[in-house]
Symmetry: C4
Subunit: 227 residues, 4 copies
């Protein structure tokens, strides 16, 4: 299990650095998480306000379902925090307020990993299509990379939720969206960003790449088509 | 010949990682192949659903002309699969359904390497020009990098094929296209991606870069010119 | 203190290389600085005309509040200049004329680091919004990454100053802007670039990334929305 | 002198890889050269048809003023070619036909390095402004990075030459352009690319970065401004 945590944290660090390079996690934005244990819930999640381009394993926290940082991480390989240690350790870092949304998605969907990105194109679409309540993505081969999709002849709905600083309210709004349509693979928060998830980190990463690719493709198509 | 396989696989891994960095193989999309032997056909091809940014040599399969994964790869350098091995090996991976298209292109054109990318710009053009049946590319110096083209004063036709999940049907549609015009260096599948090829991997890579460059140049020119 | 300088210089080199990779410091443009000591002021700042993609520690100078390069750096770790040395040393390099602006921002705002970038998007906005005197940025979650901003429901003003080669005059124009609105986190110089700052280099880097992200998002939104 | 050659070739390799990463030398396009000796002229120049992203020192040739590859390179450090060697050596590679243009620019301008890039934006502008005969670039701070320019209040002319496969004719057209206006820092060939130069490789690289930056800025400004 210790080795398991180390692997999971290493995976989050690797994905964070790759997404940062693509400009999807600028200015310490975004959060990445993966389930370490399900019962009781133990979630590895990036600490608040850290530079994702230089993310270090000790900047990934383990939280429970109430987003409390768990003590005793110091005894696990891959974590350096020690009680009474003067070094800047995991125990002195705090999880993002949005960790609550990660926990909610894990619970509602049984997700094994949740990735939240702030890209140029997901920010644009989260605003541009707000009146329609979401973005309809249809007919692209790339859709086949979303879990359970077998053909390009598929219609994917990417809902948009209004942004809020009231996290419990936002979490409830998201639960409602997730319950309305069991088939969605992600959602946008208005002028904020994208949430996507998967059974594991590999699948969640694939889903983010696919949704980002399709939003950019649709955005540039709209720009080139406009008469 | 073993060393030959190792070199070919290493080349595919290198191209895959470079193209992934450019955003042309996001979300495990795309496939890359190179001929190992021609009679009988032995094709090295990326396994289905693997992350091209982290492609490993053991994720490249050797298939025959019926896209059957060949056994006995374990005895060749560069391949780790072993019968009865518990490790995630080449023998437990499957080739993409689109491998059939790679085989067809190798046979129809005598190609030594076939590269299939999903870029933003090739996806846009595959849809935007579908009514014309293809994209006409003319007058660019960059065209001289396509095999057999000696001057910028050249008119290249990049045909578009309708997308389908019926691989034998799609392969036949592609054969028809390839037979209609012996001079094409690639084709687009609608809302899906680009196929290009060459006598060897170096030439195929060059062709992809040139076609991607020209599509992006034409796309941005259209956007800037529109009144 | 010597180790402190070494750390600060190393941080500037790292940020410079990262920003260069994103195209924000092309053609030796831009300047980066961080405070080494406040009383009397000792500022580490990139030398004039150096390639930011290959920035070396010895290309970072220590200047005083009059932008005079301080002698005796040679005795500090991380600096190689020696009096009477024939090697190309810090003492033979000169600070950018714009160093005066860095000093002014440090004094006016108590900033610990000042970063000046020349990006495509900040150059565009510095010209496009010149008649309004600045750029209004509102309603984006990303704004929360700016120091002191607690909600996306925030209205950030990014003033634009007319460009000039008269540095004292430009410094005074900037002082005026900074005194008019104590809440700004950066400003644009017309057809020139962005200045942003923070309590330390980490915060200043975060601010640049956020402002660059938001300008690009707004620019692309304008392009896609235009009817 | 041998060490000099090694340094120059190393510099060309480094610039080539950096420019390739930015997409300015795709599909083996472009050429980079630097003067090794002036009397008689000895020019280090990239061989024809090589992948700039994987450029190796032995793919840089030494040519004379008639673009003849010089023998005897094998005895110089950094060059591996040997007469009668079976290895793929410099002596079996040929210079690009466009090497003639590099020699002409070196002679006409006394340039120490000449860089030819094929970027998306320089290709677009070389076509878009062909009727005006060139691109006027005015008022940008970034212009100050061009040798001899002291203020942003400068008007730079970037001439456009019609493309041709007749190299002596193209060289003469370029000589004419260069003689008409002694102040230009580069020129475009229609639907082909950019040539820029400098007293040395560092300056030439800076000039390319500045001109590429300004063309992209002007291109995106035109797109955003269009009503």
């Amino acid at each position: 299990m210790s080795e398991n945590v180390r692997q999971i944290v290493g995976g989050l660090v690797s994905v964070a650095r790759g997404f940062y390079a693509r400009g999807w996690l600028m200015g310490t934005s975004g959060n990445l998480s993966a389930v370490v244990e399900r019962e009781p819930l133990r979630l590895a999640i990036t600490a608040s306000g850290v530079d994702k381009g230089e993310l270090k394993p000790e900047q990934v926290l383990i939280v429970d379902e109430n987003v409390q940082v768990l003590s005793g991480m110091s005894s696990r390989p891959g974590f350096t925090s020690k009680p009474n240690s003067k070094s800047k350790s995991a125990s002195t870092k705090k999880p993002s307020d949005e960790s609550l949304l990660h926990v909610r998605i894990v619970k509602e969907r049984g997700a094994g990993a949740v990735l939240h990105t702030h890209s140029i194109w997901n920010t644009i679409f989260s605003d541009l299509h707000v009146e329609q309540g979401g973005v309809r993505i249809e007919g692209y081969e790339m859709l086949k990379g979303l879990a359970g999709v077998r053909t390009h002849d598929h219609s994917e709905w990417l809902p948009i939720v209004e942004n809020s600083q009231d996290m419990p309210a936002l979490a409830n709004a998201i639960s409602k969206i997730l319950n309305q349509d069991k088939s969605v693979h992600g959602f946008l928060i208005r002028r904020h960003g994208l949430y996507a998830w998967g059974d594991n980190l590999t699948e969640a990463k694939r889903h983010v790449e696919i949704l980002e690719f399709l939003l950019e493709t649709m955005g540039r198509t709209a720009m080139i088509k406009r008469g």
